[in-house]
Symmetry: C2
Subunit: 171 residues, 2 copies
Amino acid sequence: MKYGIVIFPSKPIQDKANALRKRYDPHYSLIPPHITLIEAFEADDETVHQLIPELRAIADETAPLAININKVSTFAPVTNTIYMKVEASQAIIDLYEKLQSSNLPANKEYSFVPHITVAQKLSDQEYADVYGSLQLKDTQLEDKIDRFQLSYQLENGSWTVYESFVFGKDE
Amino acid sequence: MKYGIVIFPSKPIQDKANALRKRYDPHYSLIPPHITLIEAFEADDETVHQLIPELRAIADETAPLAININKVSTFAPVTNTIYMKVEASQAIIDLYEKLQSSNLPANKEYSFVPHITVAQKLSDQEYADVYGSLQLKDTQLEDKIDRFQLSYQLENGSWTVYESFVFGKDE
């Protein structure tokens, strides 16, 4: 089964992201707006069963963390993906690195760029239009993150949450 | 914000349900296949914050429970909804009643009929066709339930999991 670890930002940010995703992201209906911590990886039940206490321990020793979004950015020209850029605070990098150094099936294809995708798989023309118009808008959002979610993928490509891991420190 | 409490059955059952939902359920893209324990209710942050430890206590004292699905059934003529009928074991009724007697905003509009919706909002003709064809098929599924999920609804009608509550007994 395919698993992934994500953070769902709070409802106001999800609603903002969805207003764009609805038109510009073919994954709109597959998963709510999210920050990917660990990209999709293949794991059997036994591996996941062993992973859970490790994830719990990481969450326990993580404090709720603030995130700031100051602009939209893009992975172009690699892909025509547009995203809300989450400032890479030390706290979120630490969390990512702890997860990476856990017994997860290795998966370091990309360097960690925390972000919330709002548009992807656009044609070059669409991409230029959407990115151009989003850059003219002010994007200033902040949020507090206090959990991550282990999810798995169904046959139809959509994701179901398996378990949430609430941060333990300071709460 | 609108919250609800659901159980996601395991992936094989979700995949089976989705094969039908894709064609026959307009809520297909809003939430994975699920058993509703507590229908959508309105609650503010503070109420939910107070509810969490109660839900945790209920999960702690609940043992993983087996569910059996032996047939598809329907809410017609009230609504043209078709569902996989989950046998109402004492264990799942007990769980439902504990949740109902917690400090949840009261919400007992319907009696508890545990089920996984696979088709809804059908025309009478569609309903007759789909229900007729599903009744000819053998439906025998079993699953083990060991958690429920508190979810909230976004502006677009879709649901995001807020927190999972893993059952505590016997594990």
